[in-house]
Symmetry: C2
Subunit: 121 residues, 2 copies
């Protein structure tokens, strides 16, 4: 189970690491599109677009269906829940970590001030 | 500005697409660590770990500081705001898209039932 999640996160974050692929997802969020439409829209060869769509399909973010000569792409069933959960967990951790550091700095500052006070006496 | 954001998203999603790199971020969320600590913890060569840390550093997710012979890694200042915002926007889109499809299916079902009703008359 953990292994599957890990592999899914690997694949989806890799899929999201390219601006064209993020653009394709945004586009498919507005309407389904054929590979030809997408290639035109993103000013790319059919072969190039097929590769990008293949990566998105592998990651479960897009599904495609061929009817006649046209392959239509639509959003896949994955709603990026696990990816969002990972980022949220990370950001909580990040906040806690920087809060801790703030406290350490505060503590040091207080200590310094109190030492100064003692020295003055 | 858009270009910078795009390049940052490319770099951070690529950085997050590896389980070791995600593990390193989780680890540094608990405490700072040297490259040697991290290599041991993830059962990896120093060279391998240096590469992973380099990718995280490039993406602004980790900062490192060398004191004497030890390079200490800590979480960088990037809180993955833009990445979270992208995912949230995408998920809203996804929900809307599937709601639309639900409505189309409902509409078709209703039409079918009403046609059946008419045929029965």
């Amino acid at each position: 189970m953990v292994q599957y999640t890990r592999a899914r996160l690997d694949a989806s974050f890799a899929a999201l690491s390219d601006p064209t692929r993020r653009g394709v997802l945004e586009q498919l969020g507005r309407s389904d599109a054929s590979i030809t439409d997408l290639a035109e829209k993103f000013d790319m060869t059919l072969t190039g677009m097929k590769k990008h769509v293949g990566v998105l399909e592998q990651a479960g973010l897009v599904t495609t269906q061929k009817v006649g000569r046209v392959r239509t792409c639509k959003l896949g069933m994955r709603r990026l829940e696990e990816e969002t959960a990972w980022l949220e967990r990370y950001r909580r951790r990040w906040d806690e970590r920087f809060d801790e550091l703030d406290k350490v700095v505060e503590e040091l500052t207080r200590k310094e001030k109190s030492d100064e006070g003692k020295n003055r006496k």
